[in-house]
Symmetry: C2
Subunit: 483 residues, 2 copies
């Protein structure tokens, strides 16, 4: 077992220092290989999030932005590219498509994003397309990969997937004349547990193997922050004779992915979370090379047509081989430009493997944040989650401890990305949340009792993580955590 | 019969003046009720389009931008809104979704666009959604409205629809186990004619009535510029027992539409042409109120879920009644902001009926341009189209007249919008096109022989239209037209 000080890399820097020492954050920041990247972003300010309790002279300073898992911040390079594209549109008009003054022809702009995205998802360029939006792409992929028969018709997913996925599953079941309630199988955690055990997932796949038509989970679960054992699950699905797809909304740009090598059949994602492309930014999809010949495009559009003849407007569809054949419409240049700006930042982290560098900090940062949170007197173990939610945790004086919380995200680093999901009582959560915002820390609230913190490594500093200080209390937390 | 001078409104201004008098354009511009709107746009410049033959001191001036039917120019208001949204994203981050400092909550931003778009397409707000992209929306709509049976399975469309539509038709046929070649019926013009006669369209609908599953044409045909008789065709489809859908890529913002009153079943569009939303901007769709109960959403996503409970994340889909139930994903704020800027310009033209004002100028402008073009010595009648294309038009000296062209767009104002499609010989067209660009006039080339001119009324002036002057020749065209 490693100590926390080892995990967060503190031991190597100052063997005498403890994780919760006030000097720790500064020291970790000084030695953070990603520290230069924080200034690549315009981080939301205290004033912007209405952190009214933060002192006047810090109002224009960045807040503690722990909600990049919902909307990543604006990369300065994205703003630069957007302004350039607006000027190109304004001055050259339609010729920007094929004779762009900055050599970024709109006609092929998506391919620049594909190039930078490929190493982030671990795919060949032909296996991915920058296109559409997540839910729309999920439908496209399910239409090609979910082919239920009388024997094999079940869709296996985690309990409470993101509702859009749930709706998509139900739609696809109904489109095939099936009853969603018997078609969609939800994996449930064991009693008193918050997340799924990998062995239980693998067992469930085996159990349903004869009736399974598709396994589709999220790579990183939006609610619990659990990072599923993607290669093992994919393999188990294949062993059971079913294809395996992934919703990577919270996975892409967060955890290292090797979609090709893991033999994933297909995946879909959005780019407005850890890839910082802006609200409602363009989505993406992956189709494994092994399917390129077999899985035909079912909802064809001209943008998926062979680029060499696309503008000759032939009447018969000839798809681009691979994922890009699924493109239907010409894509939004504003959205691609915005995404490109952020992807360029990733590629400056490392041109061929940015996620390894990011992951290394992610593991340290998340462990550090977790340590500080667990060291407060309001923390209770996750087995008491039910009690926490109902407000049944008591203080030493036998009164309800209003700020009591636990963390439902798995402790093992292999089972989580840059997110911790804190569970409060249903009653206390909204107050805790707004008190935090007042003090300049913004996470994301999910009813009934969850506050999610996402310490995204590209722009969150260790000082940010030291939120016990942000609440004006010592990290050792003998004083009150909040409320 | 009205004279050209009457049609373009010249007679009322100066009864003695002829259309091709050099003073005409200036006079028409002076009295143009839309003249103030030109300055609402940043028009591409001579330099921007590489108009190398335009004199140095005019390089930064606007070119003659006749290609707003491909990509509309940037409205200054769009740029303003985009910059504001970037700053909001940068400073308030995720809270822009529900607590936007400029009262444009991203969560409901699309509804602001819907409001301004409704009068442009002649629909109730619940009948339209600002979402997705054209081809993707077409598939969504066809999946709901194209329900072939053994008897009724045909899709009736115009000859050479936009290829993306052709691919969509073929896809939808194949998805239903049908052979596209027998399923998709193309309406052809008569010999030596370039566009379809309304009576022929109506007859064809009758002819196929027992086997018709869907009539789907484009409102304004992208290639010929023909504006189809939408209400009559819709009615004929209904009489034949088939639903009628429309691809309004070239219709929206170009011609007045009354989708609700015309009883249109569904329609789809893009916004980057006459609505100036930028390359690859957000699309839209219309579903007639009468279908709102009957046509269920087949490819559900969380953004189509009832707004009141969307963020409670219920597991069962409860669609927003009407068109907006078809929304799948949270939409791009950059794209909506850009669209909104342009829609605000439309609403300043007239808050409840901008298209009538725009249409009035469109009719005058297109007639004026047509008159000037027809008065050049290179113009030949459309019945000689075949000869034109093959380069078989001869000069008085019996030599091939290289610049010979005709106009294939219908002459009747009711049958066209703001577009004229010029047909040249296959050989001459590219040269003519590049010579025009050199001289600061940009249209759109479509092989083999077409150059399309779209005098969009919001920003094209009558001076722009006087392109014979742009080519340094008198409008009466005794000198050469070009080449
Ligand atoms: C008539 C018509 N239909 C469909 C399309 C395809 O549009 P999109 O690429 O937005 O799907 C276009 C694009 O120009 C078009 O002109
Ligand atoms: C896990 C997950 N899946 C799907 C979606 C839906 O995304 P979109 O609205 O882009 O389709 C989200 C959005 O936050 C998500 O977090």
């Amino acid at each position: 077992m490693s100590t926390v000080e080892e995990v967060i890399g503190l031991k190597a820097l100052d063997p005498g220092l403890k994780a919760y020492d006030p000097k720790t954050a500064t020291l970790l920041d000084e030695h953070d290989p990603l520290k230069e990247f924080r200034k690549e972003f315009r981080l939301p300010t205290n004033k912007g999030i209405k952190a009214t309790a933060v002192q006047e002279n810090l109002q224009e300073e960045p807040c503690v932005y722990f909600v990049g898992n919902s909307l990543g911040p604006l990369a300065k390079r994205s703003q630069e590219l957007l302004n350039e594209e607006l000027d190109v549109w304004a001055t050259v008009g339609v010729t920007g498509h094929f004779d762009h003054p900055l050599k970024r022809d709109w006609m092929t702009l998506a391919s620049k994003a594909t190039k930078l995205l490929a190493p982030i998802v671990g795919a060949r360029e032909e296996e991915i397309a920058v296109m559409g939006t997540l839910t729309a792409n999920l439908h496209l992929m399910m239409s090609s990969f979910y082919k239920p028969t009388k024997e094999r018709f079940k869709i296996l997913c985690e309990i409470k997937p993101f509702p859009s996925d749930e709706y998509a599953f139900a739609s696809q079941a109904a489109l095939n004349g099936l009853d969603p309630t018997t078609t969609v199988v939800h994996l449930k955690p064991r009693a008193n547990e918050h997340t799924l055990r990998t062995s239980d997932i693998l067992d469930a796949i085996k159990e349903h193997s004869s009736s399974l038509a598709l396994v589709l989970l999220s790579g990183v679960q939006y609610y619990t922050g659990q990072y599923f054992a993607m290669p093992e699950i994919t393999k188990a699905a294949h062993d059971a004779g079913a294809p395996c797809g992934w919703d990577l909304a919270h996975g892409v740009g967060n955890v290292p992915l090797s979609l090709h090598d893991w033999d994933v059949d297909f995946a879909v994602w959005c780019t407005y979370k850890y890839l910082n492309s802006g609200p409602g930014g363009i989505g993406g999809l992956f189709v494994h090379e092994k399917w390129h010949k077999e899985k035909g495009v079912q909802y064809a559009g001209w943008w998926g047509h062979d680029e060499a003849t696309r503008f000759e407007m032939p009447s018969v569809f000839q798809p681009i081989p691979g994922a890009q054949g699924f493109q239907q419409s010409n894509p939004s240049i504003l959205n691609i430009a915005s995404l490109l700006g952020s992807l360029e930042v990733f590629s400056r982290v490392h041109p061929t493997d940015p996620m390894s560098v990011i992951r290394a900090k992610s593991i340290r940062a998340t462990a550090y944040l977790e340590t500080l949170l667990r060291s407060t007197r309001f923390f209770v173990g996750p087995h008491d989650g039910e009690k926490v939610l109902k407000g049944e945790i008591l203080t030493g004086a036998d009164k309800p401890m209003k700020g009591a919380f636990t963390i439902i995200t798995p402790r093992a680093k292999a089972e989580r990305g840059a997110q911790l999901s804190l569970l409060f009582s249903e009653e206390a959560m909204p107050t805790v949340f707004s008190e935090m915002v007042k003090r300049g820390v913004i996470g994301d609230e999910r009813h009934p009792g969850i506050i999610r913190f996402a310490p995204a490594p590209l722009y969150c500093s260790f000082e940010d993580l030291n939120i016990s200080d942000a609440f004006g209390i010592n990290a050792a937390a003998t004083a009150s955590f909040m409320l």
